[in-house]
């Protein structure tokens, strides 16, 4: 074989492998979405039906109107959104303050705080589940979305600070110093100079917290007993309690739950990697 032919063959092999990886990654997601729009006779079959030729909105319609566990799926989507947005709003303020402290000041106890951040990230949520359940119950926050928001702030904050501090550190200090020298106060400097420059990083960090809170199952399972307070992950469990799993409805619901996350992911994909890896490696 001539070297040129071999090179071309190598290229074909590479692209084929790439295509296979692409299919392996995307097929399960596609299968979820396509099942959501297939009529039941095309779902419950031992045949392989690649496209929904009997395209239907009946499953989507059913979960929206009849709903799951007595409520429309919209209610659970709304609950999930409230919990995730609440977590993000509180978390963004707290993590921005702490990240500024860590990235902009040298102070006694700074190292200890950074080490603390690392250690608390290793604590499994399962270890916190029982004591937090008892505390939430004692505080009267059981069965309330607020209780879930508070818990999620705790779960997402350490990583939020850890990720955001790299974004704060990346803003050149000279800008603040210039404003400082021009006589701007501490707050003005922060608000007018640092904040606009950190905002993209803050958005990326917030999206990360949003996704974590949106996906959270175990605390939502334990802290919510009334079905009107279920978030999406809990509501989805309900399908499996019944006889004869309604796959069309499940797939319609999980597609709805997946869409916002996919959109966010594609938006912040690049920052997310740099935040996770570079944030941990480079500091």
């Amino acid at each position: 074989m001539s070297p040129l032919a071999r090179k071309r063959l190598g290229k074909v092999a590479l692209n084929t492998t790439g295509l296979l990886v692409f299919l392996f990654a995307i097929f399960p997601v596609y299968w979820m979405a396509s099942t959501a729009f297939k009529a039941n006779d095309q779902i419950f079959t031992t045949e392989f039906i690649p496209f929904p030729t009997h395209f239907t909105f009946e499953h989507l319609d059913r979960v929206l109107s009849e709903g799951v566990a007595g409520h429309s799926i919209w209610l659970y989507m709304r609950n999930s959104a409230i919990v995730a947005l609440g977590t993000v709003l509180i978390g963004a303020v707290f993590s921005l303050l702490a990240a500024t402290a860590v990235a902009r000041f040298r102070f006694k106890g700074r190292n200890s705080f950074l080490i603390l951040l690392l250690i608390v990230q290793m604590i499994p949520a399962e270890a916190l589940l029982i004591p937090l359940f008892l505390s939430v119950k004692r505080l009267g926050l059981y069965d309330q979305l607020l209780g879930l928001i508070v818990v999620n702030v705790g779960l997402t904050l350490p990583f939020g600070i850890w990720m955001l501090r790299t974004f704060v550190a990346a803003v050149p200090k000279s800008l603040e110093e210039a404003a400082w020298i021009d006589g701007a106060g501490r707050f003005t400097t922060f608000w007018k100079v640092l904040f606009p420059l950190v905002a993209p990083g803050l958005v990326a960090t917030s999206i990360f917290s949003f996704i974590t809170a949106w996906n959270e199952l175990i605390f939502a399972l334990v802290l919510m007993s009334d079905s009107s307070g279920y978030t999406m992950p809990v509501a989805l469990q309900y399908f499996f309690g019944q006889k004869g799993t309604d796959w069309g409805a499940i797939m319609a619901s999980s597609t709805m739950m997946t869409i916002p996350v996919v959109v966010f992911f594609l938006l912040v994909q690049r920052r997310m990697v740099s935040g996770l890896v570079a944030g941990a490696v480079k500091g």
Binding site: G18, F22, F24, A25, I26, P28, V29, W31, M32, T46, F48, F94, S95, A98, A101, R104, F105, R106, F107, F113, L114, L118, V120, M122, P124, A125, E126, A127, L129, I130, P131, L134, V150, V153, L157, K173, I181, R186, W214, N215, L217, I218, M232, P233, L236, F240, G241, W247, I250, M251, V261, V262, F264, V273, L276, V277, A278, A280, V281, G283
Partner: protein
């Protein structure tokens, strides 16, 4: 883990902040300069203390108490039972199978995730621009799917009656299927009734969802490696495997270190996917420590004490594993 050098480097950079502060009169906010970082930290510290540290101490206390229905409702105070919760779970064979499931799953899932992810990362680096963008977008979808939906998708793919996997296995020629698995007909094969096959599906599901992160991180790392190094290796006649072992791996070691620690932490306490695949804490032989702790504490009758004991065992294992690993890394070279 990495912050010894973080601080050293950060420290070098910021030997200046005192200067701008000094030629400026105290500002109207009225806070003395030294106190500003502490004030900024207060909300974050309060959250960490109240929602992470305090419960961690509490779980250590509850593990030595009996906390059942009466105690949860507050009608009776929790009673101390010493090591009873621990001796009880150590006597229970479910605990040992849960421990084994947790460890074996974590080892297999972490290894496979890293191997597949790294391979795909290297592949992405070699592909042309269009093809690599296509693959990145594709794996991004797998990565973005919420854990609960991941479980649901793979449960559906492995469904006994209408699942795609059984359909695909039936496509195999009968002699091949007989040779490989000793059977030809896969219709109705239930994958999610037994512990070993639940874990097989779980491993596929978790690797599918977590290799993209490894791949994209490795790709980001590879982009930073100077092309001349690979050129030189090629001229010297170094094969693909040797190039990887002697150039790529050493250069990307810090990235691999972080990826490994993160994967260990994630995979040791997998909950959502397993919960969905089993359909709730249903198959006791397939419990891992997370699910076992949850089931003890929240399935009637609630036994918070033994649930806390199991959670504590999980936490200790997790801390030991990461501590040993981090120490090894720090010993090898300062990162």
């Amino acid at each position: 883990m990495t912050n010894t050098s973080t601080i050293a480097r950060g420290g070098g950079r910021s030997s200046t902040p005192r200067r701008p502060n000094s030629h400026r009169p105290a500002k109207a906010s009225g806070l003395p300069n030294w106190s500003v970082p502490y004030v900024l930290l207060i909300p974050g510290l309060l959250v960490i203390a109240a929602l992470l540290l305090y419960p961690l101490i509490q779980v250590g206390i509850i593990a030595f108490q009996k906390v059942g229905l009466v105690q949860i409702s507050g009608r009776k105070p929790a009673t101390w039972v010493g090591w009873e919760n621990f001796t009880k779970i150590f006597d229970n064979e479910i605990f040992w199978s849960a421990l084994r499931n947790t460890v074996v799953f974590a080892v297999l899932a972490v290894t496979l995730t890293l191997v597949v992810g790294t391979a795909v990362g290297v592949l992405l680096n070699k592909l042309g621009k269009k093809m690599s963008t296509l693959v990145v977008v594709g794996i991004m979808f797998a990565w973005a799917v919420p854990p609960v939906a991941q479980g649901i998708i793979w449960k559906w793919l492995f469904d006994a009656e209408a699942g795609v996997i059984n359909w695909a296995l039936n496509l195999l020629p009968d002699w091949l299927s007989n040779l490989l698995f000793g059977r030809a007909d896969w219709t109705g094969e239930p994958w999610l009734n037994e512990a070993w096959s639940i874990y097989m599906v779980l491993i596929i599901c978790v690797v599918w969802a977590s290799f993209p992160f490894v791949a994209v991180s490795v790709l980001a790392g590879l982009k930073g490696v100077p092309a001349e190094l690979y050129e030189a290796a090629r001229v010297d006649g170094s094969g693909a495997w040797r190039t990887f072992r002697q150039i790529t791996f050493p250069l990307l070691k810090p990235v691999f270190a972080v990826l490994t620690v993160l994967s260990i932490i994630w995979d040791f306490k997998v909950f959502s996917q397993l919960y969905v695949l089993m359909g709730g804490p249903a198959v006791r032989e397939a419990f891992n420590l997370s699910i076992y702790s949850y089931a003890e504490a929240f399935r009637p009758p609630p036994k918070m004490g033994s649930g806390a004991a199991i959670a504590l065992v999980l936490t200790v294992i997790l801390l030991i594993v990461t501590a040993v690993y981090v120490r090894q890394l720090v010993k090898q070279e300062e990162m």
